[in-house]
Each structure stands twice: as structure tokens, then as C-alpha cells.
């Protein structure tokens, strides 16, 4: 209950923020929303399913280019174009998932990283469409508020979706794949189908928000669209917060966004290295992230409360 009140307050605060404050905070929060979306998306495939991807910027970049091109060539309104970018990312993710998810562990991680580099090279090379390294320009967005709200809704949607996932059998089955894929398969869990579904689901957020990012910058070029730094930051956020948890990505994105912002302002020389240091430190000190530590200490309830509530229903026979 308290969680819902707290969450409601947070959402309300985020909703009024652009009405009361200067553009710096709005701009910062837009980037925070962006990373919330990316972190939650990555959490679905890498946190829950256990397939660590180092190439989810592929979908971010595809969404960014897709939306930009739809705006430039088809004159689509930005919101529709971003949705189109998301669809494009899904259309790419489906066949890609079928192929890539045959790989496991580090092979999948490296394969995904390689794919992102391939997409980046295509964006560079296909100059007729993308204008290569010059990049594509959009008319600048003077009012960031519509973008703020669109990204905010997407971010909120990702949090709620993850909450649903965490409390569903689909989520349990993804965790089963993470723990013992062969065992899960032998027990009748349709692992291939579920993995592909999770993979495609994890491409939606990056696809849509890639378009939003292009609108935000009014510009997109290959290094921006397929940036390994974006990937690394996203991974660091989820690792820090806790992989395969409902609130981990939110906590990770919030804490690291503030931290990075501070570092960037005061110590720009260490800012870029900070992501790597944080990943290393988290893996060594609390491999399951802040949320797992909080759950173990009893500060937070363990996830998957719906199952627990179902289990506590009096319809079931009582146990002495």
C-alpha cells in the first residue's frame, strides 16, 4: 500500500515538474526517463531471462533512424513516427531474436555487441538514406514538455509492465530460463518461444525512445544512435539497482543519473570511466544489486507478491 502511495506521489511530482521549473531540470528528467525506459527494457531480456545483451542500442538506433526518416520523408508527426520507430525495432528484433537466442552466455553478449556495430556501420555506409557520418537533422523542438510527458508515460508504462511481468507465470518462466534453461525445457516450458517473446518485448522501449531521443537532440548520427556508452550506462544502472527486480532499474537509473550529472559537471575527466568502475564495483560487492541487498535485509518485501497473495487465499486447505 505504502509503495502505491509513494509511487503515486512520485508520478504526481513528475507530472507537475515541467509546469513549475526551469528547463534544466526538465532536460535532466527527460534523460532520466530515457534511461529508465532503456534500463527496464534491458532488464526484461538480461535481468529476467538471463541473456546479457551488449547490443540493445541496436534497437535504440534503429528506432532513432526509423522515426527520423519517417518524419523527414513521410512528414509524420513526431509521436506517430516514434511509434513507427518502435514497430521497426520490433520487426527487426523478431527474426534477430530467433537467430541470436541460439547463442548462450558470453557468445550471445558478444554477438549482440557485434550486431550493434554492424548496424552502426550500415548507418555510416548507407549514405543515400542516412547521410552517413553527417547525420540527419530535424527541426529543433522548442517546447520540450510534450516530449517530457511522452517519455514519462513510456517510462511509467515500463515500470508497470515489469511489475506485471514479475507477478506473472511468464515472468517465472523467464526466471526459470535464467536459472536452468535445459531443465526448464525438459520440464515442458516452451523456452524458445518465451525467450523470443522477451527479446522482442525488450526491443520496444529502446525502439520508441530512440525516436524520442532524436527529437530531443533534433539530430541523429551513427555514433549517437548506436553509442556503446549508452549501452554501458544502461547496464550499469540495472546492475546497480538489481537485475530481474521490479524497482532495481528505477533506483539504478535515478542514482546513476544524478551521480553522472554531478561527475560530468565537476570531474569531466573521470565521468566516462565511472560506468566501468561502477559495474566492476557492483559485480564484486553486491552482484545482485541494491534491491537484492534491501530484500535480504528485510527492508523491502521479496517480489512476486501476487503469487503469495493467491497462496494465502483461504480456498486452499490450511496447513497445520
Amino acid at each position: 500500500m505504502t509503495a502505491w502511495i509513494l509511487g503515486g506521489a512520485l508520478v504526481a511530482a513528475a507530472a507537475v515538474l515541467p509546469l513549475v521549473t526551469a528547463s534544466y531540470l526538465v532536460s535532466f528528467t527527460i534523460q532520466l526517463f530515457l534511461f529508465v525506459v532503456l534500463a527496464y527494457s534491458w532488464n526484461v531480456i538480461s535481468g529476467y531471462t538471463g541473456y546479457t545483451s551488449f547490443g540493445h542500442t541496436s534497437f535504440f538506433g534503429i528506432g532513432a533512424y526509423g522515426a527520423t526518416l519517417m518524419m523527414l520523408h513521410w512528414k509524420l508527426p513526431w509521436l506517430l513516427a516514434c511509434a513507427g520507430g518502435g514497430l521497426l525495432a520490433v520487426a527487426v528484433a523478431l527474426p534477430l531474436g530467433v537467430v541470436m537466442l541460439r547463442l548462450r552466455g558470453s557468445f550471445f553478449a558478444i554477438g549482440m555487441f557485434g550486431l550493434a556495430r554492424v548496424f552502426e556501420a550500415v548507418a555510416f555506409g548507407w549514405a543515400d538514406l542516412t547521410r552517413g557520418g553527417t547525420g540527419l537533422y530535424l527541426p529543433p523542438a522548442y517546447d520540450l514538455r510534450p516530449l517530457y510527458y511522452a517519455l514519462g508515460v513510456l517510462a511509467l508504462g515500463m515500470v508497470l509492465l515489469t511489475w506485471r511481468l514479475d507477478n506473472s507465470r511468464f515472468g517465472l518462466q523467464l526466471l526459470a530460463i535464467r536459472e536452468d534453461e535445459d531443465g526448464a525445457e525438459a520440464l515442458g516450458i516452451k523456452t524458445t518461444r518465451l525467450k523470443v517473446r522477451a527479446f522482442v518485448l525488450s526491443a520496444v522501449g529502446p525502439g520508441v525512445s530512440g525516436g524520442f531521443y532524436a527529437v530531443y537532440l533534433s539530430f541523429i548520427d551513427p555514433p549517437t544512435a548506436f553509442s556503446p556508452a549508452t549501452e554501458l550506462t544502461t547496464i550499469a544502472m540495472v546492475l546497480f539497482g538489481g537485475m530481474g527486480t521490479v524497482l532495481g532499474p528505477l533506483v539504478g537509473a535515478a542514482v546513476l543519473s544524478v551521480l553522472y550529472e554531478g561527475l560530468w559537471a565537476r570531474f569531466p575527466q573521470v565521468y566516462l570511466g565511472a560506468g566501468g568502475v561502477i559495474i566492476a564495483a557492483v559485480v564484486l560487492l553486491m552482484p545482485r544489486g541494491v534491491m537484492a541487498v534491501a530484500m535480504r535485509r528485510g527492508w523491502l518485501p521479496h517480489g512476486r507478491g501476487t503469487l503469495r497473495r493467491l497462496a494465502a487465499r483461504p480456498a486452499a486447505p490450511a496447513e497445520a
Binding site: Q173, A184, A186
Partner: protein, 235 residues
Amino acid sequence: MGARPLLLVDGVVKRFGGVMALNGASCAVTEGSVTGLIGPNGSGKSTLFACIAGVERPDEGRITFQGERLDERTPSEICEMGLARTFQVTRLFREMTVLENLVAVAHGRSDAAAVRRAQELLEMVEIRRLEHALAGTLSYGQRKLVEIARALMFAPKLLLLDEPFAGINPRLQNRILGYLKALHEGGVTLFLIDHEMRILLDVCETVLAIDAGEVIASGPPEEIRRNPRVLAAYF
């Protein structure tokens, strides 16, 4: 209860590289029976189970369950047909609770129905009090019980048990034996691998002996125990 074969294994060959794990194994499991499978280490027992459960695909031969081919189906299709299994070394999802382990494998039911079914099964093997315990924190014997309960989530007609009595104390062995007998009385056909002759004699109507990938004998347990080929294979 006629002698209708529920499961029929016919000339199954399985090679792993140059190793012939199954070399034309043939056998039948009668509906409503308790059938044991014995054989020395490396004789192909677990491979046979893996082929039946669809985890491994036979190179030759065919396996039918209720007259339908199994060897071309996926493990999840086979589960849905009413065939479930436990593993030699328990394979629980360690970071899930006991209850979640059961619910995760449920097919088709609503979550509420799956939870209720899981609780009934945990009740049956008398570990309902552990439903919210993380599977990774359980003792080996408790994990064995959870595995049996989990396999029953499919309401199977045939239950494959890979060494259900190995590595646990005699008291728990007897408890499991009791559960298996109750299942058998409830109409579930049991096919189990084990080395515990005491238990096989007690519970099995038929014992199959496998050696070097071939079923070398089948019959009532006392007969199998005296069979010269079985003795030669074991000693």
C-alpha cells in the same frame, strides 16, 4: 487393467559422437504398472529416459506413448501428452520459492488454479510448510520431494523417476515409496530407474535390465535378480 502397453520403445539407437549410448533398446511399459529400470553405470538408463522425455532425439527407432509417436515431439508437447519426469540430480530453480517452482511449469491453468494445484501437491508430499522457502535453501531430501510434486503438476499418466531413492536416508526413502504407491493406486503409471534392489523388489511388478544400451531382460523382479545375463552385467 489389461496388458496394454502405455509406452513402447522400439529399437532405439542413440549415439554421442563415437559412443553408442543406446544400441537398439526395446521395451514396453504396461498401463497402470510400476516398472523398474536397472543397469550398471553408463548402461544407457538416463539416456533412455532423456529420449522418452524428448530431451534427446533418437538416431534410430521409435518411441510411442498411447500409440502416438514421441520421438518427433518437443519436451513441452510430451509433457502435455501426460508424461512427466524427475531428474537424477535435482534441478529446482534455486532462486524461486518452492511454490513458484511448481507454478512455473503449470500448463494452461489460471494462476489461481495453478497455485491451488501446487499447494495440494505440496500437501500430498507433506512439505506445504515450505511453500515460501527458496528452493536453494532446501535439503537434498526436501528437493527430491519438491521435484516429485513439480512433476505431478501436469497430472501425468506416466511418471519417469530417475533415481528417486538415491542419496537419501531410509526414512525418507520409505516416505517417497509411500507416495509412489499412492500415486500408483491413483492410476499413475510409474517408470523408475534405481539401484536399490530392496525398493524395486517391493514396488515393481516388472523390472527391465539394460546393459550397453540394450534391454537384456525383463520380467518380475525376483526373476531378474537371478537372470544370469543380469548377474554377468552387474558383477
